[in-house]
Amino acid sequence: MDEKRIVIALAGNPNSGKTTIFNNLTGARQHVGNYPGVTVEKKEGWLKHRGFEIEVIDLPGTYGLSAYSPDEVVARNVIVNDKPDLVVNIADASNLERSLYLNTQLKELEVPIVLVLNMADVAEKNGITINYELMSQLLGMTVVRAVGTKNEGTVTILDAVVNTFAGEDKPSERMLRYRPEIEEEINSLLELPFAGRQSGSPSSEAAAAAGNLDGILNYPLRWTIIKLLERDRELTKKLENNSEGKVLLKQIEQSRQRITDKTGDDPEMALVEDRYAFIRGVCREASQITVISKQSLTEKIDNVLLNRALGIPLFLGMMWLLFQLTFTLGTPPMEWIEAGFTALGGWLNEVMAEGLLRSLLVDGIIAGVGGVIVFLPNILLLFLGIAFLESTGYMARAAFVMDKVMHQAGLHGKSFVPMLIGFGCTVPALMASRTLENPRDRLVTMLVTPLMSCGARLPVYTLLIGAFFAPQIAGNILFSLYIIGIVLAIIMARVFRTWLLPGESEPFVMELPIYRLPTLKSVLIHMWERAWLYLKKAGTIILALSIVMWGLFTFPTVDKEGYEFESAVEQVENSYAGRMGKVIEPVLRPLGFDWKTGVALVAGLGAKEIVVSTLGTLYSIEDEEGLAEEEEPVVKSFAQRAREQSGYSPLVAYVLMLFTLIYVPCLAVVAVMKRETNGWKWPLFTVGYTIVLAWVVCFLVYRGGLLLGIG
């Protein structure tokens, strides 16, 4: 049974249509997870073909296998450590030379390869004719034609996989040869006795290196030596920590020097140039350009979309559409979900007897589950939009248009989308940061996105502004909050970039893929994947945290003597959350807040809009039916009562809004960040830094305001 199982790894450049092929091969039978220890996503799928059980591991899209990005390290480690039976490399047929570069790298890893020339229709339309038979011979592997978007070639790929696995198609073991000066050095390094080989004239130093490099150098030997000649970061680091390794590195350095002396080129460049020379040779023989291609559709579209005058307005229009799609279309279903859960809670309130169990069910669990599901419409619609923008090729253009602005803030052109979505809701915004490939850019983006004022903070602003500020300046006050959020995000991005995540500047060498229409299937699978991950990973944490919040506000239910509290206010005051409010009061005093405000801020951890209702309860601002009545009179009465009973000055009210803007977005955000960064470190850091930042900013504004005599 076991021998009927084939494990294949799917490799390919970004934009080679790898995901489409993966979906064609595996359909819905896939699983998304993370590679251990890194935030690189791991997708696997399963299928059956000609009696074989085939497992497909989708490697991250890469251009090469150097150790410069985590994606590349993951890709090569999977091939070396997980030992797939063969690698299916997806190349873009319309862009052969660049696509074949990765193929030369895979080949050196000494793993059987099936090469798929995808997007063959585009190549053919551009007048490129490919002789697959000849290319197979030249490269020493099966080469097949495919058009992923039309589901052409899927069976051919699988046949090639089975044939290669069963040994009917034998890949050649011949390796790419570099220029003689380099081969000479590779050969003399191969002579060294490591990997247990005896050699003619080993130096005693090198002989000592042999045994102890086991487990460090578990890659194919020739590949390892070539990578070391290229000063591969990961391999070099491994060797540096090992005395025998240092000896080897010294030999490598000498070889590098000799290569430079003899060729006049540095080894990195010489090796890459030789690979491209080989590829050009193969392409010249096995492919032909028969038609001189005129201006392509992509160029025509880009002449408009990237036009110097129109580029930015069109980009902003596109973003506006994305925002509208997510939030305007998403709001009605959100309201239905909210109404549904409220109704369910109301029904339980009626049929169940009053007590802890009912309270747990209604205020803890149902509210918690509702709090999870309520984000689903936004997430589904946002990822529908993002999947479309990404797979058409526009996302790369958006980054191209915005990069200058974002780069000045220490971010990347692609950071714009998550930050914009952050104005709607931070939860999908953090998930949108996945479009950033560079982990450092992505992390900084995630850390500052919560500062974009989300929709849940708006009710806090509206109520407080309505209560404490004249209608003439209300708009300006509101606007100032949004602007402060943006300015803080830019400042913090620069700070994080400079001190927290310093390092060499990240390249913005990005391909602008040709435009194409995505398949509905790909878009839907992408959308569903995100939603499912959110429900499974973030949802459970949000639910758990909601129940904890419920507990903090509910217990203890009786006072020390065992009597029930007389009023809701008294109950909240004596709850754990209430006590927390009192404990933190000394810290909040300098900002002009009392313990009741503290409790409201604790409650706001659950969701920002709760700040206002908690303040309402504590100051007995609303009467029993309060918020259930029609909007107008409630706001007015709230405003009047808030002014009379809270004792806030407009300055304190403003500072409270500022604090609400800056401190911990909400528990759902913490949960999603945990899921997206694969650990608790960064969400906890975000909780910490936003609280400190909120305090500092509020302190400055409050004290400054007092000095200026406002308030």
Binding site: Y68, L96, E268, E273, A399, F400, P507
Partner: protein, 82 residues
């Protein structure tokens, strides 16, 4: 005299790569994407805000920031070739 780099190319101009200076991951990415000596590049356009720039080589389009474009040294006789 400073040598001519990709940054100096005006939209529509073509030139061959002479060398790629710089080091580390940026250079690695640039050369692995096929921007090696001898390859001819066309400057397609500057971004609406002037940076980054887009270049093409038959088959693909690439964008890079000007600071990165500045590491790509070009052969001098670009204009005549056109």
């Amino acid at each position: 005299m400073m040598s001519k780099t990709l940054k100096d190319l005006a939209p529509g101009e073509k030139a061959r790569i002479k060398a790629v200076s710089g080091n580390g991951s940026v250079r690695r990415r640039i050369i692995e994407m096929g921007l090696v000596p001898g390859v001819e590049l066309t400057m397609e356009r500057y971004a609406p805000l002037g940076d980054p720039v887009e270049v093409s080589n038959p088959g693909f389009f690439l964008s890079l920031r000007k600071e990165e474009a500045d590491t790509i040294v070009l052969e001098e006789n670009a204009e005549e070739e056109q």
